[in-house]
Symmetry: C2
Subunit: 321 residues, 2 copies
């Protein structure tokens, strides 16, 4: 095992409290509150050249996406940030944090600052706390026969990141999608009441669907031809099988994946106006895995199911809650 896989296996053994949900969920559930912590690091989760305000926005948004996946309303956040000598970077970063907190009604209630040497990469953490509704879907409740629905579109952020890797000054809708993800809080709250399982899609649909299949001990069948692509995405990368595989494995989508009972039609639920929700597959019985179809044809899974950005040698379980 790699060092990181060992660490995660060890954490799993330590975290044997029911509130931990086996470290297999997007968030912990304690005394009726949903609690999550995500850390982002320079050079790993964001680019040194990214505008600092977008980094601040993203740190808040990725944590809110975890709350969205549990149907929770934002209640408070604790910020942990390293501070360098570049005061204007820190100031713009906080503008992004404040903008996202204001936009989603997330009060900043605590935090911690650490001054690191200038050469050290920035490490920025946020603990987000949310108040859930009466039902808090985990990843492990999907049942054979459930329909799989996706909230949002896929591939935009990955396409934006690709544009930036080719041209650091690239801009446009795809780059914005990469830098400023929008958490699906409203849709999450509506779907949580009905979903047998729900999670956010942050590391690539196929990788995250595999995690849901593993946690639920079933098969997640995904219809590649049904995946929702934005017009900006198809204009940039097309919509052939290659483009769809790119979208299904790219990561940084911050979409929601929900397993709903087959009889539940989310299109008649009071989702926020403008919500993109798409029927992309179904759960079936069998050894846990993800299976991919293009129309009626089963197709081979790509070698890499997603963007394991938690570590160079991350295991599929690297995404602790």
């Amino acid at each position: 095992m790699t060092s990181e896989a060992q660490v995660i296996a060890r954490l799993r053994r330590i975290a044997n409290d029911p509130a931990a949900r086996g470290l297999l969920d997007d968030a912990a559930l304690l005394d009726g509150l949903v609690i999550t912590h995500d850390t982002i690091a320079e050079g790993v989760h964001f680019l040194p050249s990214d505008p600092p305000a977008s980094v601040g926005w993203k740190l808040v948004a990725v944590n809110l996406s975890d709350l969205a996946a549990k149907g929770a309303k934002p209640a408070g956040a604790l910020l942990s940030l390293t501070i360098g000598d570049d005061g204007s970077w820190d100031d713009e970063f906080l503008t992004g944090v404040e903008h996202a907190c204001e936009s989603y009604g997330l009060p900043l209630i605590g935090g911690d600052t650490v001054a690191l040497p200038d050469s050290a990469p920035r490490v920025l953490g946020l603990t987000a706390i949310g108040r859930p509704g009466p039902k808090v879907p985990s990843r492990d409740g999907a049942r054979p026969g459930d329909s799989l629905w996706l909230v949002g579109t896929l591939g935009d952020a990955a396409a934006g990141l690709r544009q930036l890797s080719e041209e650091p000054k690239a801009h446009g809708l795809l780059v914005e999608s990469y830098r400023r993800p929008v958490p699906q809080l409203g849709a999450g709250q509506v779907l949580a009441e009905h979903a047998n399982a729900m999670m956010d899609v942050s590391d690539g649909l196929l990788l995250d669907a595999a995690r849901l299949a593993q946690a639920s001990n079933g098969v997640a069948e995904i219809a590649l031809d049904r995946l929702p692509l934005s017009r900006a995405f198809t204009a940039e990368r097309g919509q052939d099988r290659g483009a769809r595989l790119f979208a299904a494995t790219g990561g940084d989508d911050y979409a929601l994946l929900a397993a709903l009972p087959a009889e539940c039609d989310p299109l008649i639920l009071p989702l926020p106006s403008g919500t993109t929700i798409t029927h992309i597959g179904a759960m079936t019985a069998g050894s846990p895995e993800v299976r991919l179809f293009d129309g009626v044809d089963p197709i081979r899974l790509p070698e890499t199911l997603g963007y394991e950005h938690r570590g160079r040698n991350a295991s599929p379980m690297a995404d602790c809650p």
Copy 2:
């Protein structure tokens, strides 16, 4: 203003929710839970040569000390850690985390791992959540006439750190005190019901007492000659005025400072057996400041009130909750 002072001033303005307690407390209070997050960084809060298990212990203990200061019982923790290529370091670190979590009944309920380049300093964060009793003392409730009591002894950790700076292989009780602080959870729970104000002493008594004075808008008078020193400390550094000033400004004590009504005698409270609790001063009316006495003589404050380890140019307010 320095960059860090600017960042903290800005955070104060953003954090205007009552749960934030103005970012002037050891922890936030949300829906009846006490929540705190402390991050420790290699080269800032611990030495690269410190045994990894002691670093894990310390990360947990410093957060538990914040819960202790609010009289809260440990309920859960989320761990955020950077992972390098040295698997044995990470493994021993987790042993220390697990040991402290087991020792104080703190379930690990979530976390996040980030793989950083090997040259980057380790940054380790913990969010600790506690269930408080009926009363949660803040830093701002001390009143003129209150007695100031200290739980624990002062200076041991600073003396241990000094030994290590002179001899990296130094060992003994003082070094252990620096590496493995013991949170005063039991005493904190008992005192919380009676204290008008309480906080943990982590950055040096005089600096932390100045923060309590500031938050409570009063004067904290401290009797240097009454400060509790351990036998290990006095054997190493003596107990003259210089030694006492060293102990009062050293930091890393993880003691508790409580403002109790004058009529409250904590010596008759059901404190855990073995608790060292000492009457070290009193609150009086006046512009917020800390005043120091040796016997009946007022003495000048030292230039540095404490160990502002949060940053090279940290303000006295650097210690956000």
